[in-house]
Each structure stands twice: as structure tokens, then as C-alpha cells.
């Protein structure tokens, strides 16, 4: 019971964090038709900006200003980089974002170095929120859940209840028609790219203290985010939400459940000798294979449902 409750909560934290990253990436892909390889780099920038700002003005100021800074950087990159490269097609855009990811990583190492930064949660949230079955749940993780759900609701409201949201929804599928109605579609694209980058930055701000702030953090989470948007269905925000939670729980439960194929085979009365050629394979435990499970899910989705769980577009 303890394992289930805490795995559910930890999976929820990971899943919502993944959604904060994948929602921006999904919106950007829907509008521009290009996968932004540098998206997770904005997540990393968010953590580093917040680390620096919090050093002078505290965590809460960093929480507000770091995502805004990242959003501005993202919007400027779209305006003066991607929009220019767009005329040479999606491959050029893809290569551009790929190069940008490396560039941002190098810039981060140049300014902040290679060591993990001492970026911590604020003292206000540095206490166990509750203790269940002798195990405590940190208040900071509850804060991460609260922020992520708040962002999800705000994004949903913005997209469905505001005029800007309607313009974004229409511009995703009919950019020419929207422009013919007098709306500045390139400006909308830039805004969406900026907001998407800011969301990734916010994810970095709140994940930095929990998962570590180091130059490889973009790579660690970035590849999983691509799995999320393919599994959810390219361009589907609802799909990204479902896939984020699915992968969050999949990874958390896999880490928590210390079972291997040998345990299952033992239950069935099958056993292998210690010198059997497959012995090493069967003795692999779930926590050992947990990191590759999302990619296994990706392969299965690509084979059996190439459009993803809720997508309409071929991956």
C-alpha cells in the first residue's frame, strides 16, 4: 500500500513535469510542423537562470522572472533564427534546433561550468508535508504538483476561453485563412514559441532543486519528452497529458517494484542454472530496465498505433 501511494504521488510529479515540457513542444510542433530539438535546453536555461537569480533575490523571484527570461530568449530565437530558416523547409529547421541545443549546452557550461549547482528548494517548502506508513512526502513535491496543475488549467483556459486561444487554435490548422482575417500569424507563432519556451523554463525552475541543475539535465529529460509527444500523438495536447502521466507512472513503478523475470519464472516452476547463457538477461530487475521502458513503449506505439494514443498525424 505504501509503495502504491508513494509511487502514484512520485509518478504524478514526474508526469506533470513532463507535461509542462511536452505541452509547449506540442503547441510549437502543431503550429510550425517542426520538432524543436532545443526545447529541453530551455528547460535547462530555466533552472540556471533561476539558480543565478535566486542567489541574489531568492527562490520566489527566480520562479517568476526565470521563465519570463527564457520565454523572451525563445521568442527572439524564433523571430531572428527559426523564421529566417523556415524558408528552406523543415529539414533546415530541424538541423537549426539540433545545433541550437548544442550551442545552449556549451553556453551554459561556459558561464556556469560543468559541476552540479547548489540550487535548493526554498526553506519555506523544506519540510515533510505528511508522513504515511513511516515515509514522509516532501512539501516541495506537493508544490511541484500544485504549480504543474495550475499551469495545465491556465493553459486550457487560455486556449479554449480567450480570443488569443481561439486564434492559436485556428492558426494551427488554417494559418492562411487566419491571416486573411487580419490576424498577425507570424506574431502569434512567435508568441506561442515564447510561451512554450517559458513553460519549459518554468519546468526547469521547479525541477532544478529536485532533480539537479547540471549541464546534462536537458539531455536526461529531453529524450523522454520526445517519447511523450510521439506516444501521446504528435500535435495532441490531450495526448501529451495522458502520455506524460503514463510514462511518469511507468518509470516510478518500475523503479519501486524490485522484481525480475527470474522471480516470475520461479513462480511458474522454471529455473535456469547459474551458467545458463540467458541467466544475465533473466536476472535483470525492473529498476535496472526502468530507464529504457519509455523507449520500449515508443517502439510498441510506433508499431501498433503510429498516430500515437490521441493523435491524428502520422509519426
Amino acid at each position: 500500500m505504501e509503495l502504491v501511494v508513494f509511487s502514484l504521488l512520485n509518478g504524478l510529479v514526474t508526469g506533470l513535469l513532463l507535461f509542462m515540457l511536452s505541452s509547449g513542444l506540442t503547441l510549437i510542433f502543431s503550429m510550425m510542423g517542426v520538432l524543436n530539438f532545443a526545447h529541453a535546453s530551455f528547460y535547462m536555461l530555466g533552472a540556471y537562470f533561476a539558480y543565478t537569480i535566486s542567489g541574489y533575490m531568492g527562490f520566489w523571484v527566480g520562479l517568476i522572472f526565470a521563465p519570463i527570461l527564457v520565454g523572451v530568449v525563445g521568442a527572439l530565437i524564433q523571430r531572428y533564427g527559426l523564421r529566417y530558416v523556415h524558408r528552406w523547409g523543415h529539414v533546415a529547421e530541424l538541423v537549426f534546433t539540433f545545433g541550437l541545443a548544442f550551442l545552449i549546452e556549451e553556453v551554459v557550461q561556459f558561464f556556469w561550468g560543468k559541476a552540479t549547482k547548489d540550487y535548493h528548494e526554498p526553506e519555506l517548502l523544506d519540510f515533510p508535508l505528511f508522513t504515511l506508513f513511516g515515509q514522509s512526502f516532501p512539501a516541495y513535491k506537493a508544490f511541484m504538483i500544485f504549480i504543474s496543475i495550475g499551469i495545465f488549467i491556465a493553459l486550457l483556459m487560455m486556449l479554449t476561453r480567450t480570443r488569443v486561444g481561439l486564434i492559436i487554435q485556428a492558426a494551427i490548422t488554417h494559418p492562411n485563412t487566419v491571416a486573411n482575417l487580419g490576424h498577425n500569424v507570424p506574431l502569434v507563432f512567435m508568441g506561442v514559441f515564447g510561451v512554450g519556451s517559458a513553460l519549459a523554463g518554468l519546468a526547469g525552475v521547479i525541477a532544478g532543486p529536485a532533480l539537479g541543475t547540471f549541464p546534462g539535465m536537458a539531455f536526461v529529460l529531453g529524450s523522454i519528452v520526445f517519447v511523450v509527444i510521439v506516444v501521446g500523438g504528435l500535435g495532441s495536447l490531450a495526448g501529451a497529458f495522458v502520455a506524460s502521466l503514463l510514462i511518469g507512472w511507468l518509470q516510478t513503478f518500475a523503479i519501486a517494484l524490485d522484481y525480475s523475470m527470474t522471480d516470475l519464472l520461479d513462480l511458474l516452476g522454471v529455473s535456469f542454472s547459474d551458467d545458463h547463457v540467458l541467466r544475465d538477461l533473466w536476472s535483470l530487475s525492473l529498476p535496472q530496465v526502468a530507464p529504457i521502458l519509455p523507449y520500449l513503449l515508443l517502439i510498441l506505439i510506433l508499431i501498433f498505433r503510429p498516430t500515437g494514443l490521441m493523435g491524428k498525424r502520422e509519426t
Binding site: 480570443r163 481561439l166 486564434i167 487554435q169 485556428a170 490548422t173 488554417h174 492562411n176 485563412t177 487566419v178 491571416a179 486573411n180 482575417l181 487580419g182 490576424h183 498577425n184 500569424v185 507570424p186
Partner: protein, 231 residues
């Protein structure tokens, strides 16, 4: 109001518009006739900046060549494309709201006007536009463009594929648009409505104008009709 001179446009290496020139005066209804593929839709797209134009397009003295689509729309030109481009996942009301250039806009048309003109749209105001019939989608596309309060509206094949009853409704809307002093460029293949409501007609053939005159003059010119309009 609109002065187009020596308009050229290309799709890749295909030279579609080969020196198109025409005028539309304030409050005038002008029809652009011709067979499929002669460049009528491309003319509208070139005016809107959707296809890169060469030559000169002046709207109330302002040169449109080189301007962006949304800038051209904000100068007061509306465009209803032939493919009934409703936003299918948005409701009828949301489609109409998006036609307005800003929420503060006060123009000749309100959402209630649209619902009064087409009661079907009022009944289906909160239904997704993708669920409407072809005729209703055509009405919605025209109404959405009118919500932007254009002074000139270009309407591409509004009666294509519609039932006779719907065609009459479209004709009624065109007459209402004209009554509210909006200039119209009507792109049509069928002569019936075009000749009934137009002040002047142009006939296009192979990327340039081959006739410019009144509907009566066109009716009396059997050679032009047989060479450029009749199948």
C-alpha cells in the same frame, strides 16, 4: 478604390497571371468570369498577398505589393476563398468572433445581423463548424469575413456545389452586402447570379482580361461568350 495594373503571378515556373489589369470603384459590384484554371482565384490570392504578386495593386492609393496578408486585410479587404475554410473544431459563434479584427471593433455587421440573415447559423451557434452542411459552411465563411467589416470583399465561387435554395440565399446576402455599401469582386463560373447583381463584368482567359463591360454588353457579345465562357 482598387486599381490593379499589369499583375503577374507564378506557381513555381508556371506563369499564371500574365498582366492582369482591372478596377473596382467604391460601392461597385464587379464579377470576374472565366473557365476553370484561367487565373481568377489566383487574382484574388495575389491581391491578398497569398501568392507573391508582381506589378501594381493599389487600394485607395496604398500600394499592396510587398505588404503582408494581415496588413492587407486590415486596410479593409476581405476574402472568402472557394474551399469554405471554416475552422472545423471551433463553434459557429467562435468562427464569427475570429472574423472581427478586434473585440472593440464597431462596424457595419454584428453577430446578430448574421443570425438574422441566416437563422440556421443562430440555431447552430454553439455547434462545431465542421458539423455544418456545405451550404451552411459557405454562409459561415462569408459571414465571418463580413464580421471584419471590409470595404471590399472578394468572394470566390460562393455558389459552387450548392442547392438552388442555397444559391438564392447566397444571392440575397450579396445584395445585402451591396446595400451596405461594400464593394464586391465576385469570382464566378455561372453567369446567372453574376449578371443579375453586377454593375460590371470582366472575363478572364489564359491569365489576362479578355472582356470588360456591362452585363448587357456581355450578353450581347456571343463571340466572347462562346470563346471564353461556354463549355
Amino acid at each position: 478604390m482598387l486599381e490593379v495594373r499589369d499583375l503577374q503571378a507564378f506557381y513555381g515556373k508556371s506563369h499564371i497571371l500574365q498582366g492582369v489589369s482591372f478596377d473596382i470603384a467604391e460601392g461597385e459590384i464587379v464579377s470576374l468570369l472565366g473557365r476553370n484554371g484561367v487565373g481568377r482565384s489566383t487574382t484574388c490570392k495575389a491581391v491578398m498577398g497569398e501568392v507573391p504578386p508582381q506589378g501594381s495593386i493599389k487600394f485607395r492609393g496604398t500600394e499592396l505589393v510587398g505588404k503582408k496578408q494581415h496588413e492587407i486585410a486590415r486596410l479593409g479587404i476581405g476574402y472568402v476563398p472557394e474551399n469554405r475554410d471554416v475552422f472545423p473544431t471551433l463553434t459557429v459563434r467562435q468562427n464569427l468572433v475570429l472574423g472581427m479584427k478586434s473585440m472593440k471593433q464597431e462596424g457595419r455587421w454584428s453577430i446578430d445581423d448574421m443570425f438574422d440573415l441566416f437563422s440556421n447559423l443562430r440555431e447552430r451557434a454553439d455547434i462545431r463548424a465542421g458539423a455544418l452542411s456545405g451550404g451552411e459552411q459557405q454562409m459561415l465563411t462569408m459571414c465571418r469575413t463580413l464580421m471584419g467589416d471590409p470595404d471590399l470583399i472578394m468572394i470566390d465561387e460562393p455558389t459552387e456545389g450548392l442547392s438552388p435554395q442555397m444559391v438564392e440565399k447566397v444571392a440575397g446576402l450579396l445584395e445585402e452586402i451591396a446595400r451596405r455599401k461594400v464593394s464586391i469582386l465576385l469570382v464566378e463560373q455561372k453567369l446567372t447570379i453574376a449578371l443579375r447583381i453586377s454593375h460590371r463584368v470582366y472575363v478572364m482567359g489564359h491569365g489576362h482580361m479578355v472582356f470588360d463591360g456591362t452585363p448587357e454588353a456581355l450578353l450581347n457579345d456571343a463571340q466572347i461568350r462562346s470563346e471564353w465562357l461556354e463549355v
